[in-house]
Structure formats: structure tokens, C-alpha cells
């Protein structure tokens, strides 16, 4: 598992979210396109600014002649067909060349056109956007059926030369439009309700933490719909997957908390696999304590933070869809203990 990262403490060491430090083929292709287009734009800008500032310096009316003093008019030039044709055709050529580069990049970043080597082991993940958190359904390796269901933090294997591991995301939304964006891995793709064929892919060689967030305005807490993707070695990923596949921990010492969880309204929204809690509205909590953050990756997962959250989520994330239930402090303690046991 990657080392625990405290969100607040990390301020001095900013996380890399730049579109210009790509770590996956689609993001790399896009950066190449960025360089080409920027070069073309700089070239055009240099011409326009060059002529503009040259004219300003060269043809500025002398101050002596300002206001009123008689002056002759400069020669009147009404136009010129060859020149007009030239500056219609030249930009046309630039546009044509740019289009060719765009078409090439277009083929590189979109899922279906990607030629994968035979040895590639594709990992299919269904991403479902909710106000304001992410749900992942990770396919069991090699089998086209859902395996692990988790929320907000996604773990994926790194891609190596011997073992390419492209990740295919199928993007859906449970409510309004969202957009999945981790700048270092790929451009964004929207999650649109009622449209289940939006897809994207990436494959990254560097292990580590990649962050991003929802990029399509989706309501009150749009700003706090954050994304964390952990890219791990194959072994680490398999270990994580194995743990996620297990049923929830059932520790007798936190039985009180479990009891309250199952009798209060928690079960209406949350699932804990292996218990009667089967709600689908909120994040799956089966292995909550194995995560580093919660509430849409907004808050580091500590016992203290979780207690505060259960007491009154609105105080931490105003407008979020989980209400405060007015539980006694004792009950909150028990539930927190129970949830913290769900490794």
C-alpha cells in the first residue's frame, strides 16, 4: 500500500495535476498535440504582433501634426487580389496540416482504435458518477463480470513492457452529468445519465498516486468531488484486489456498532457486503477502513474525522446528501469503531 498521505500536510509539497507531465499514452499524445498547436499559434502570433508593432512604431503620426495642423493623407490602397488570395491560402494550409495531426491524435486517445499487443491484460472498470462521489465496479481479472465494488479511491496495476495493463473505463452517471479527469493519465470524458457507452483508457508505467476531480459542474459540492488513483505494482494490486474481494471484517469486539449501523437509517444508503446492509445510494463501505480518505476524497480517514462526519456531515461538507441523524455520542463512538474495523 502507498504511504499514508495527509491532505492538509501536503500543502508544501503540491501534488502534480499538470496536463503537461503525462504518465500514460493518451495524455502523452495530447501533450504532443499541445506542443504542435502551440508552436503553430506562436508562429502566427509572431507574424501578427510583428506587423502590428512595426506599424505602430513606423507609421505613428508625428506629434507636431496633432490636432488641427494641416496634413496630407497617405496613399490610399484599396486592396490587392494576389495578397488576399495569399493570406487566404496560407492559413488554409496551416489548418489542413493541423487537422492531420489532430486526426492522428484522435485515433491514439480513443478506446476502440487502440491496438493492444496480444499479451495485454485489459482491466475493465465501470465508473459511476454520483453527487458527489465516485463508484467503481472492477471486473474480476479475465472474467467479464463485476467483482469488486468500491468508492472514490481506485487502485490499478502499473503497465510494464512485459505485461501491458491498459485500463478501460466505462463511464456512467447515476444522476447528473459528471466528468472523469485525471490530467496526468488522460483527457476528461463526461459521465452522462442515460448514456452508457462513454469510454476512456489509460496505461501508466509509473507507480504512485494520481489525483484529479470531477470536471463537469454537477451541483453544490462539485468542487469536492475529488479523485484518487493509486497505481501499484501487479503484486500490490493483486493483494489489494484479494482484500477487497473478501467479505467485510466481522470483529466481535465492535458488535455494538454493527448493531446500530444495521438498525439506524445507514442501511438505506450504504452497503456492507456480508451484512443485511444493501443500500446503493451512498458509497459501498465494505472495506472503508482500507481507504485513506472519505467523503469524495475530501477528508483524510481518521477516527476523529469519521466521528465528526457521522455526527454532522453538513458541517464538514455543506449540501452533501448525507444528513445528520442526531445519534448520541455513545452510538457515534460505536459506529465509528465498527467502521474503522472494516479494513
Amino acid at each position: 500500500m502507498p504511504k499514508l498521505i495527509l491532505l492538509a500536510a501536503a500543502a508544501s509539497q503540491a501534488l502534480d495535476v499538470s496536463t503537461l507531465s503525462p504518465a500514460s499514452p493518451p495524455a502523452e499524445s495530447i501533450r504532443f498535440l499541445f506542443i504542435v498547436v502551440t508552436a503553430a499559434a506562436a508562429f502566427i502570433l509572431a507574424i501578427v504582433w510583428g506587423v502590428l508593432f512595426y506599424s505602430l512604431l513606423k507609421f505613428r503620426r508625428p506629434r507636431l501634426l496633432k490636432d488641427g495642423l494641416p496634413t496630407t493623407e497617405p496613399p490610399q490602397v484599396y486592396g490587392s487580389l494576389p495578397i488576399e488570395v495569399a493570406w487566404t491560402v496560407a492559413p488554409g494550409l496551416i489548418v489542413f496540416l493541423l487537422t492531420l495531426v489532430i486526426v492522428r491524435t484522435e485515433f491514439q486517445v480513443h478506446v476502440r482504435e487502440q491496438q493492444q499487443p496480444e499479451s495485454a491484460k485489459i482491466l475493465n472498470v465501470t465508473v459511476i458518477g454520483h453527487q458527489w462521489w465516485w463508484e467503481y465496479v472492477i471486473e474480476r481479472d479475465g472474467q467479464r463480470k463485476p467483482g469488486v465494488v468500491t468508492a472514490n479511491e481506485l487502485h490499478i496495476p502499473a503497465s510494464t513492457a512485459e505485461q501491458p495493463r491498459p485500463i478501460y473505463l466505462n463511464l456512467r452517471s447515476a444522476d447528473v452529468c459528471h466528468s472523469f479527469w485525471i490530467p496526468r493519465l488522460a483527457g476528461k470524458t463526461d459521465l452522462i445519465p442515460g448514456r452508457n457507452k462513454n469510454e476512456m483508457w489509460f496505461a501508466t508505467r509509473e507507480t504512485g498516486l494520481y489525483v484529479g476531480q470531477c470536471a463537469e459542474y454537477c451541483g453544490t459540492q462539485h468542487a469536492h468531488m475529488l479523485l484518487r488513483v493509486y497505481v501499484e505494482s501487479e503484486a500490490e494490486f493483486q493483494a489489494w484486489l484479494a482484500n477487497e474481494t473478501k467479505p467485510a471484517v466481522d470483529d466481535p469486539s465492535v458488535r455494538n456498532g454493527k448493531q446500530i449501523f444495521l438498525t439506524e437509517s445507514c442501511v438505506k444508503c450504504h452497503t456492507i457486503r456480508g451484512t443485511p446492509a444493501q443500500g446503493a445510494f451512498g458509497p459501498n463501505l465494505t472495506h472503508l477502513a482500507a481507504r485513506e480518505t472519505f467523503a469524495g476524497c475530501m477528508i483524510p480517514l481518521t477516527r476523529d474525522n469519521l466521528r465528526k462526519w457521522i455526527r454532522d456531515p453538513q458541517e464538514i461538507k455543506v449540501g452533501c446528501l448525507m444528513p445528520a441523524f442526531g445519534l448520541s455520542e455513545q452510538k457515534i463512538d460505536w459506529i465509528t469503531d465498527y467502521l474503522m474495523s472494516l479494513k
Binding site: 492538509a8 500543502a11 501534488l15 502534480d16 495535476v17 499538470s18 496536463t19 499524445s29 495530447i30 498535440l33 499541445f34 498547436v37 499559434a41 502566427i44 502570433l45 506587423v51 502590428l52 506599424s55 505602430l56 507609421f59 503620426r61 496634413t71 493623407e73 497617405p74 496613399p75 490602397v77 486592396g79 490587392s80 487566404t88 489548418v95 493541423l98 487537422t99 489532430i102 491524435t105 484522435e106 485515433f107 453527487q131 444522476d175 447528473v176 452529468c177 466528468s179 479527469w181 490530467p183 483527457g187 470524458t189 463526461d190 445519465p193 442515460g194 448514456r195 462513454n198 476531480q213 470531477c214 463537469e216 459542474y217 451541483g219 453544490t220 462539485h222 468542487a223 455543506v318 449540501g319
Partner: protein, 515 residues
Amino acid sequence: MYVLMAIFFLVVAGCEALAIRWQLIKPGNDFLNPDTFNKFFTMHGTTMVFFMGMPILIGIANYVVPLQLGAHDMAFPRVNAFGFWTTLFGGCLAYFSFFVPGGPPAVGWFAYAPLTETTFSPKSGVDFWALGLLVSGVGTIAAGVNFVATILTMRCPGMTLTKLPFFCWTMLWTSLQILVAIPPLTAALIMVEFDRVLGAQFFNPQNGGSAYLWQHLFWFFGHPEVYILILPAFGMITEVVPVFSRKVLFGYEFMAAATMGIVFISMGVWAHHMFAAGMSRTLDMYFAAASLLVSIPTGIKFFNWLATMYGGRLWMASPMLFAVGFLAMFVLGGLTGIMLASAPFDLQVSDSYFVVGHFHWVLIGGTVFGVFAGIHYWFPKVTGRMLSERLAKWQFWLLLIGFILTFGPMHVSGLLGMPRRIFTYQADRPWQLWNQLSSLGAMIQAPSYLLFVINIGWSLRYGRPAGDDPWDAWTLEWATTSPPPSYNFSETPTVRSRRPLWDVKHPDDPDWKYE
């Protein structure tokens, strides 16, 4: 009145913008709560587009177009008044949402479904927003009809369409574009209200509606809309640049054709706002290539403006100052537009601050600089007094510096992965510096608009008398008194060329010999 209303809404939306910038000055700021922030950016965008941008352009054109045509008034003065009052009423309706339970809408000016459905926005803010836009849209269409009728039928003797002053030419095409672009928006807004009030399901995917449909309808209006906002500014620049370069416009025919080209192409590129929405690869490539094509006529315009200045005798009075500001800045916005049109690159930067930087750059570096050039140019005609050049220069430089500082850094924060429409950001993201620069820029920009308002007030009373033709210009509006008498001209003028006053001033070498 149009212009005064627009300036009022400019102040309102400007204050909203300042609050937004203040909120983003540091991570985790709590100056505005999330809902207020979302409401402010919704109303800021809506106001600037519908109640500031279009009215100020229509207002100026209402005054200038009949003068340039040598006409006594607009074709339908009552329709004109109707257009103004419906636009104002629409603005009031939208702003009335501040006084209803739940307050103004918090759905963004683009109002993507299904966020606008009652499930997600149960309060009436969205209704006021939709009805306000619908009503003001009616006013805009009225204005559009009026311009088309005026320009096509009320030109003075001798003024064929090929001798039309350029501002009138752009207004003609802008108006035609209004007539094509606004009705789909009106229809879409009615559909939203059907959904919300009558239980229709146009945009509700749970019941077979389509979230996608709204995006197509909205951008089929929304993309031409940006040209509705920029073409009149092109027209103003095209009036100012030749006069202050002391040269005839270079390549009138190509400029006119380029205007038409922009209008036609812009109708077919709306889905470049939707590259990230998962269209097919084929559609992506079509919309990318079509969007790039817009750069060709725009490029023609630029080179012709530059050619007009080249070899001229540049008089850097305030209208020309703003026009040059426009030329220097708008080109950059156009170039980032080319970047955004490159579909795969758009996947990284759409819905990021790069886009926010881009379109503010275009709308302020383009429309606002153009409008200021126009207002400084025509103010003497309207009021009979000159604006203070000293205040105008302060206004220009504050605006230029503030504008670059506000919207330049946004391109960087966007490339660094900052999404737009977020009310706050985490301390571990590398965006704080760039946001502080942007906020600082906004603080520099704000007094520039204030100076403009002061300048207008001061010059109305104390400005130097202008005389009929202070700029030694060539189009018909300068042939009448400043301010013009009612019915504009004591006798209907006759023209033989595009620059009737040049012909009068240079009888030995008139324009009509060459046209």
C-alpha cells in the same frame, strides 16, 4: 437606454465576478458558501451574455446604423421600444430570483440537464432564469428583425449593399444570425419549463428523455451567440482603424466575404463544446476541422486590418488605442481558440480554467475593447462633447494590464489541471499563486470600468464641444450635427462610394473612381 441598462448590468455582474475572484484567492476560503458561489457564477455568465453583452451592442447599433445609412430612424421604432422593454423585463425577471425562496439558480449559465430538472433543482430559481432568458430572447429577436429591415430597405440613394458602411454590414449578418440562433434557445427553454412545470420528460434520462439533447440545443444557440457578441465589435474596429490610420479599408470585398464566411461556418461548429461528452470519433473530427476553418476568415480580417494600418498615418486617439488593444489581444484569444478546437487537446482543457481564460480573453479582448473603441469613437456624435482623453488613457491601460493579469494566469491554472466552476480547491493543488494573480488582476480591472463611468458623467457636463466631425471621418453619421437633430438629416443624403465624406473632402480624387 439600451446602453445605460447594459452598463447597469455590467456593474452588477462585475460585482459578482469580484466576489467569485475573492473567494478563489486561497484554498479552502469560506468568503462565499458553495451555494452562493454557484449562484453567482450562474448569474454572472447569464448577465454578461444576455443583459450586458447583447444589449450594449444592439444599443450602439440602434443609434449608429440609421445614421450610417443616411436614414431618419430605425425601420420600426415601436418594435425597437418593444425590444428594449422586453430585454429589460427579462433581466428583471431573472434577477427577481434573488427575492424568491431558494434564491437565484445554481445551474451555470449553460444549465446542463438534468441538473435543471426539479429532481435536482426543486426551487423556482431555474424557472425565473429560464423565463427571463426567454423574454429577453424575444426582445433580441425583435431587434434583429428591425436591423435586417432597416439595413435592407432604408439605405439612402446610391448606397448599394456593396457600398454599405462596414459596421452596418456586420450588424446585418449579426442580425441574421440572431434570427437563426435565438429561436432554438427559446424552444429549449420552453422544453425545460414543460419538464419542470407540466411534467414533460424532454431532458430527464430516468424517463426516456435525453441529457444530450439539451447540450445540442443549447450549443446550437450558444456557439453562434459568441459570434453575435463579436461580429459587431469587428464592425466597430473596421470603422475605427481606417479613420485613425487615414487610409481606406484594405480589401473591403474580402472583409465582407469573411464576415459571411464566419457566420455560415459558425452555424456548423456548435458541438466543439461537447468533445468530452463522448461523441463518435467521426463527429469529433468533423467539428474539429470545421471549427479550425473559422480561423481562415478571421485571419483575413486581421491581415486586412493590419494592411489598412500599414503605410498609414496612425493617430493614437482613444478610439484607436482601444482598437489597437483589440488587435493585439484578440489574436491571442483566437489562437487559444484554435488550440481548443483541436479535439483531443480539448479533452484536457475543456471545463478547465484554460477555457475560462480563453473566452474571457476573446470577450473582453474582443467585444469589450471593440465596444470601448466604438463608444469613444461615437460619443462625440451622440452627445456633442468629447470624452476626456486623459481619463480614457488611464482607463485603457488599467483595463489592459488588469485584463492580462486576470485571464492570462487562468490559462496556466487550467493547464495545471484546475477545473472551472469550483468554489474552492485543496491546499495540495498547485493553483494558489495563479489564482492570486487572477484575483489581483480583477482588482486592477475593476477601477478601469469605474473610470469609464466617471468619464462619461464628467464629459457629458464638461467635455470639450465636439463639432460635427471631430475625427475627420468619412461615413454619413459625421455629415450631420452632433448630436443629430430628430430624424437625423435635414435632407436625405446621396452617396456614390463607401466613403461619401472623403469624396466631399477630396473632390479631385474621389473614391467612386476606384470602386
